[in-house]
Structure formats: structure tokens, C-alpha cells
């Protein structure tokens, strides 16, 4: 349990606990269902209650994400980069808080957790720098045979459903969320079911980093309950099943088939998030648009 959550700070002061809520459309609502469930640390000690999101919360998050997508995809790439750099700055500033939360969630030493948080800051920073380079790296001019100018430009796919990694509560989470945002998409994230608290705190960072409302939405709860609805939702354009358990994968792919939704090809076992990232997620989370126009006088 982190200091702030101790019933008393050891000097007799009773601390004020934080209520953990959902993050939908830039606000922090409780689950409309009123459901919560206790979150335990790696040793089984009570940390806090987290909201247990319902299917209705999920639908509202998708509506918010569609709105968020309109403003975010319409922003300049430079502007998106500025916001993501700001997210990195805010994460850096709250490093200590995150280290405690990650240590509790993942059962790491404070030192190891701090390393993981630093890697998370660097991950966001890395993706922030990508926003205005995606076009030049993945798009380009097509040398067509004829009197036309023709270019291809990667565009965000839209609303992306993300089943966040189950184990890596912050580094894993930002490793899947940052590329969604850097590519200009909006996200509906299902946080790790057993380690959701760093995700809730990340929302506080996102809310204070000029990220437009609805661009990132985070639901705590049970991904096994919610992910199939995310996969079949008609207004979700792509699904990242990274944190979905193996037993759930076939069901998600089947649900996604109905709308021919893109499902990211990710391994069943959670990767080592400390490995340096590649731009593959950015490539997969964009659609290439080819534009032709005749040349003439």
C-alpha cells in the first residue's frame, strides 16, 4: 500500500484516500452499474476499490472515443506530438507516485519499479517524436506511369479497442496506448484486471496534458466480460488484444470478423516491454490512402 493510502502516515495523521473511477470522455465517472471490486497488491493486501465497468460504460466510452477521434485526427501532427511530449513530462514529474503504485501492483522492489516507470516515460517520449514522421516513413510518392501525381499517406484507422497488458501495469500499458495516440487514433482501453491502479493514475496524467476529451478512455473491470463487446462493436475500427488471455483470443477474433475489423497480430504471451519498440504498431494502426490527380495545363 502506498503512503497516501495508509490509514495513517505513522505520525498519527489519517490520510485522505482517492476514489478510483473510470475515465470516459475526459471525465471521471463511476461505473453506471455502481459495481466496484477490490484491488489487492502482489501480497494479497487490500489497496483500493476499482470501478467494475459495465457494457453500458463501454458503449459510452466508444461514443466518447468517436468524438475524440474527430478532434484528435483533425489536429496537426505537430500538435499531437506536443500533447504526447506533455504526457511524458507529467509522467516524469509523478515518477515517485507511479513507482510506488507499480511496485505494489507488480510486486517489484521500489528500485525495479522505478526503472520500469522511467522506461515508460521514455516510451511515451519516443512515440511523441513519431507523430510528424509517420507520413514520410510509411507514405510517399508513387512513380506512376502516366501524367498523374500520386501519393500515399497513412491515416489513422479510427477508434481502437485496446485490451491492455495484464502484467506490466504501466510500461506495458503505455507501450500499447502511446502508438494508438501517436498515429492519430482514439482509444478505449480495458485496463489490467488485477493491476488497474497505475492505469487510473495515468488517466489523471492524460487529463492534465491537453489531450482532448475522449481521445483516451480507460475502463477498469473484467476484460473477459467487456472485450468481446469491444471486438464486435460496429464503431470500433481496430482491436489490440495484447492483454487478452489465450482462451479469449479465438472468441475476440470471431467477434471482430463480423465487421472485418483489424485485429493486431500480437503474441499470446506478454512480451518483454523493456525491449526497444519498433514502428510496427504505428504502421498497423494506420490505413494508407492513395490520392491521384492528373497533371496538365
Amino acid at each position: 500500500m502506498s503512503d497516501a493510502e495508509q490509514p495513517s502516515n505513522g505520525r498519527g495523521r489519517v490520510t485522505v484516500p482517492r476514489t478510483r473511477k473510470l475515465y470516459i470522455g475526459g471525465s471521471f465517472p463511476r461505473s453506471e452499474s455502481g459495481r466496484v471490486r477490490p484491488v489487492l497488491d502482489a501480497h494479497g493486501e487490500f489497496l483500493a476499490n476499482a470501478a467494475l465497468a459495465s457494457r453500458k460504460d463501454l458503449r459510452e466510452a466508444v461514443v466518447a472515443a468517436r468524438k475524440g477521434f474527430e478532434s484528435w485526427s483533425g489536429a496537426t501532427a505537430h500538435g499531437r506530438g506536443q500533447v504526447l511530449f506533455r504526457v511524458a513530462e507529467m509522467l516524469e514529474a509523478r515518477r515517485g507516485q507511479f513507482a510506488t503504485e507499480v511496485a505494489d501492483a507488480e510486486g517489484l522492489s521500489l528500485r525495479a519499479a522505478a526503472d520500469s516507470v522511467e522506461a515508460a516515460v521514455d516510451r511515451v517520449f519516443w512515440y511523441a517524436g513519431w507523430t510528424d514522421k509517420i507520413g514520410t516513413v510509411f507514405g510517399g510518392v508513387n512513380q506512376v506511369s502516366g501524367p498523374y501525381t500520386c501519393h500515399s499517406v497513412p491515416e489513422p484507422v479510427g477508434v481502437v479497442g485496446v485490451v491492455a497488458p495484464r502484467e506490466s501495469a504501466l510500461l506495458g500499458l503505455v507501450s500499447v496506448l502511446a502508438p494508438v495516440l501517436a498515429a492519430g487514433n482514439s482509444a478505449v482501453v480495458l485496463a489490467s484486471p488485477d493491476r488497474p491502479l497505475p492505469a487510473v493514475t495515468l488517466c489523471e496524467v492524460l487529463a492534465t496534458s491537453d489531450l482532448p476529451a475522449g481521445v483516451a478512455n480507460v475502463l477498469t473491470g473484467d476484460p473477459a466480460e467487456l472485450a468481446p463487446w469491444l471486438a464486435s462493436h460496429e464503431d470500433v475500427d481496430a482491436l489490440d488484444p495484447t492483454g487478452a488471455e489465450e482462451s479469449l483470443r479465438a472468441r475476440l477474433e470471431d467477434a471482430a470478423a463480423e465487421t472485418v475489423k483489424r485485429v493486431l497480430d500480437v503474441p499470446v504471451r506478454e512480451p518483454d516491454w523493456n525491449e526497444p519498440p519498433t514502428p510496427k504498431r504505428l504502421r498497423t494502426l494506420t490505413d494508407l490512402k492513395t490520392v491521384w490527380h492528373p497533371l496538365g495545363q
Partner: protein, 482 residues
């Protein structure tokens, strides 16, 4: 001449000889470098322009699918997988040259089997098919520089199920990148149009391609699904309707294999009041009726700015009335035969629904041949968003006209479909064209042109049109395990 009105130009038929196709009486499967009878039931391929049988085609049994996948797997392991990119490049180059050399023959064959105008097959399908092989020949030894990291790996055996609208061109679009990337392939052309793929198999022999690198099967939906779900096929690929693509995705769910999907979806042309009218009329007519409208992304809907709509539609009708419909082998023909009785039936029903739903129908007065599957090019006006004509993929020679008042409305209407393959924008104002192009949720946007294809230019859709690409650097990704 004393007449004040000159007589209209008379067309004299300019028929291409069907004999040029070099038709065989029987076409056989191509597995492991040799032609064989196949263990399935024989079928016949029909000329949709005459309803006459063209040839007998060997049938594929499930055991033939196994045999073909095994051959492709052996070829990948022993002969093709370890080959230098530069050697693969030369084989692809040979195939490109052979397609060019036998272009006239194959164009006539393609016209006979599909019903498409021979002029189009000769000027569009064949040159483009060769161009895809030539372009990808150049990629085979340069994959390190394609942006997918050093030494990107192929999948192994690729299974490809192809459509009947552009049999040879879609074969080239899929087979060329698959081979360039180092895969071996088992190809199944559409049941109604298998002939050009089986002649392509002959070109593979002539090119000296190692046995098993390219295998060609025949058959319909059953064989297609058997091939795509075969555990020996590392990468299944399907070009065709969204409905079938969806079924394949369901079937492959949980297998760890994600199919390459190049799916359908009618396209939309947006005509602004300041469009170059002559070009726009031509582009809209061509967009709707090219290849009988049997085109993924055909411009089957046109959105016209309200202030010019009436006049524009009239000119579209006038231009459409001049299209010559009939014998595909006549080099004057603009619109040939619908591909099959089943397709003609489907499109006819959609047209009837359009009338029943209250849209205003006009059909070209051009006389149709007495035999064969023909449909007069048809233009519907007063079409609304809710009508089936506006929502479904038409995939036939039918154009629906809708109107709009503001650019925002045009974009909203164009995007109001689960598909997202292609769109056209007609305006002389560059900033408006690019503004519109930015907002259209399609994989391709043609500004003041339509139906442009090139092997260097990635082509493919968004959302329910499937999100893979063919062509260019991006197109390689479909066949690389990256």
C-alpha cells in the same frame, strides 16, 4: 450530299478472331510443375456473351488441394525459399515478358471467358498484369530496403482465391508480390473464369519456374474454403466480396492465421459545381460502366452538387447512350456481357428493387444481343441514402445519382457506408479536392480522374473493404512476415 443533317457515323463491326485465344478443349490443374486431370468433377467454362461452352475444366477434389499445398510446401523448403532474391527477380521478369509476348492471345481468351470487351482486355488487363510482374521483379532483390527491417521473411505457402472480374490482373496483383517476397503459391481462380490462370500455369513452365512454386487449382466456394483454411497454408489470401471475406475471417478465428483480404464496396464520385464538366461526365460514366461495373470500387454512386445536378445527369445519360453494348470480341464494344447468369439475375433484382423503392430509372436504348447475359447500362436518379441501391455494392452496370448542397454533406454521404475502397472528386479547385480527399474514408481517392491503377501505387480499402494493399512498397507487407 444535300441533307442539312449529316448522317450519324455508322459503326462497322471490328471483330477480333476467337481463334486467337488458342482455346483447348480441356484445361487441367497445375500441381508441382505438371498438368493433371484432378480427382474432382469436371466442369465447363461458359462464354457469357453467347452462353456457349468454351472448354471442359478439370475438377479439384480435396485430395488435390492437399497435393497442391504439399507441392508448394516442398518447393518453398527445397527450391524457392533459399533462392537468392536476384534469381527470383529474373523468374518474375520472365513471366512479365511471357505475358507481354502472349498478350493478344490472353486478351482474347480473357474476353471470351469473362465477357469483358476485348479492347479493354488488350489495353488494360494484360499490360497491367505484365506491369505488376515487372514491378515486383525489381522488388525481389531489394526487400532489405522496403522498410520492414533487414532480411524480411516470407510466410511460406500462400493460398490465393481470386475473383472473376479481372482474373489475370488480380492473379498478377497477388502472385507477383507473393513470389517476389519469397513465398510459394497455390492459386484458385474463380469458378466461372479459370482459363487464363491455367494458361498462366503454362507460362510458369515456359519460364522454367521450379516445380511447385506456382500451383493452380480450379473449383468453387468449397475448394476455396478448403484451400484458405488448410493448415499447410501459412498465409491465406482472398480477393472478392465482403460477405465471403467475413466468412473466411470467422473460419480462421483462433487459428493464428490472418488472411489477406481485398474486399468489395461500391465507390462514390463527388461532382462539385465547379467540376470540369466534360471530364467529369466521362469519368463518372467510365467509373460506373468500365468492365460492366464489375470492379471493386466502381463508381456506382455519384453525388452531384444540387445546382448542377439536373444538367449533369442529362449529360451522363447522353454519354451513356453512346456506349456500344454487345459482342465483347468487337473492338468497338464499350460494355460487354455480365459475367454469369447468376450475376445478371442478382443485378436485375437490384434494379427492380431500385424502381420499387421509388428511384427514377433510365436505361440505355442501345440494342442488346439476343443471346448472352447482357444488361443495358442504367442510370437511376432521385436515389436516397436509405435505398438499397445506395447502400449495397452494385457490381454491375448501374449508376445511382444522389445530390448534395455543401461539401460537408457530400463527405458525410460518401462516408455513410461500411465499405471504404475508392472515391472520386471532381472540382477545378485544388484546395477543395484535397480537403475532400482528406475527409473521405476510402483507401483510394481519384481527383479529376477515376479507375487509375499502377503497380507502384498502393491500392486497397478501409473498414469492410479489407485493409490490405497491393502495389508499391506498402503492398509487400501482405506477403512478408513482419
Amino acid at each position: 450530299m444535300t441533307d442539312s443533317e449529316p448522317a450519324p457515323w455508322e459503326y462497322v463491326p471490328a471483330p477480333e478472331s476467337a481463334g486467337l485465344a488458342g482455346l483447348s478443349s480441356e484445361y487441367r490443374l497445375f500441381v508441382d510443375g505438371t498438368f493433371s486431370a484432378g480427382s474432382g468433377e469436371k466442369t465447363t467454362s461458359v462464354n457469357p456473351a453467347t452462353t456457349e461452352e468454351l472448354a471442359t475444366v478439370a475438377g479439384t477434389a480435396d485430395s488435390d488441394v492437399d497435393r497442391a499445398v504439399e507441392a508448394a510446401s516442398g518447393a518453398f523448403r527445397d527450391r524457392w525459399g533459399g533462392l537468392d532474391g536476384s534469381a527470383r527477380a529474373k523468374y518474375l521478369f520472365r513471366l512479365a515478358r511471357l505475358l507481354q509476348e502472349r498478350g493478344r492471345e490472353l486478351a482474347v481468351l480473357e474476353s471470351l471467358d469473362t465477357g469483358k470487351p476485348v479492347r479493354q482486355a488488350r489495353e488494360f488487363d494484360l499490360p497491367n498484369a505484365a506491369a505488376y510482374f515487372l514491378h515486383h521483379a525489381g522488388w525481389a532483390d531489394k526487400l532489405d530496403y522496403a522498410g520492414f527491417g533487414p532480411d524480411p521473411a516470407p510466410f511460406g505457402v500462400v493460398g490465393q482465391v481470386l475473383p472473376w472480374n479481372f482474373p489475370l490482373l488480380t492473379l498478377a496483383q497477388q502472385v507477383a508480390p507473393a513470389l517476389a517476397c519469397g513465398n510459394t503459391v497455390v492459386v484458385k481462380p474463380a469458378e466461372t473464369t479459370p482459363l487464363s490462370a491455367l494458361v498462366f500455369a503454362e507460362l510458369c513452365q515456359q519460364a522454367g519456374l521450379p516445380p511447385g512454386v506456382v500451383n493452380v487449382l480450379t473449383g468453387g466456394a468449397h475448394t476455396g474454403e478448403k484451400l484458405l483454411s488448410h493448415p499447410g497454408v501459412a498465409k491465406p489470401a482472398f480477393v472478392g466480396s465482403t460477405e465471403v471475406g467475413r466468412r473466411i475471417r470467422h473460419r480462421l478465428a483462433g487459428t493464428g492465421r490472418t488472411p489477406v483480404l481485398m474486399l468489395g464496396g461500391s465507390g462514390t464520385n463527388i461532382v462539385f459545381a465547379d467540376a470540369p464538366v466534360e471530364q467529369a461526365v466521362q469519368g463518372v460514366v467510365d467509373g460506373a460502366f468500365f468492365n460492366q461495373g464489375h470492379v471493386r470500387g466502381a463508381g456506382s454512386r455519384v453525388l452531384v452538387e444540387e445546382s448542377v445536378a439536373e444538367e449533369f445527369v442529362e449529360r451522363v445519360r447522353e454519354r451513356t447512350a453512346t456506349l456500344r453494348v454487345g459482342d465483347p470480341l468487337d473492338r468497338n464494344t464499350d460494355v460487354g456481357a455480365v459475367n454469369s447468369a447468376a450475376e445478371l439475375d442478382r443485378i436485375t433484382r437490384l434494379v427492380e428493387t431500385g424502381e420499387a423503392e421509388g428511384a427514377r430509372r433510365w436505361s440505355s436504348p442501345h440494342p442488346l444481343p439476343e443471346r448472352g447475359y447482357f444488361l443495358a447500362p442504367t442510370v437511376f436518379s432521385e436515389v436516397h441514402q436509405s435505398m438499397r441501391l445506395a447502400r449495397e455494392e452494385v457490381f454491375g452496370p448501374v449508376l445511382s445519382v444522389l445530390t448534395f448542397r455543401t461539401p460537408e454533406e457530400a463527405v458525410t454521404k460518401a462516408n455513410n457506408t461500411p465499405h471504404g475502397l475508392a472515391a472520386g472528386v471532381w472540382s477545378e479547385k485544388g484546395s477543395r479536392t484535397l480537403w475532400t480527399a482528406n475527409r473521405l474514408r476510402t483507401g483510394v481517392v481519384w481527383g479529376n480522374t477515376f479507375h487509375r491503377f499502377d503497380p507502384t501505387a498502393p491500392f486497397g480499402g478501409e473498414r469492410e473493404s479489407g485493409s490490405d494493399r497491393v502495389g508499391g512498397r506498402a503492398g509487400l507487407e501482405a506477403y512478408l512476415d513482419v
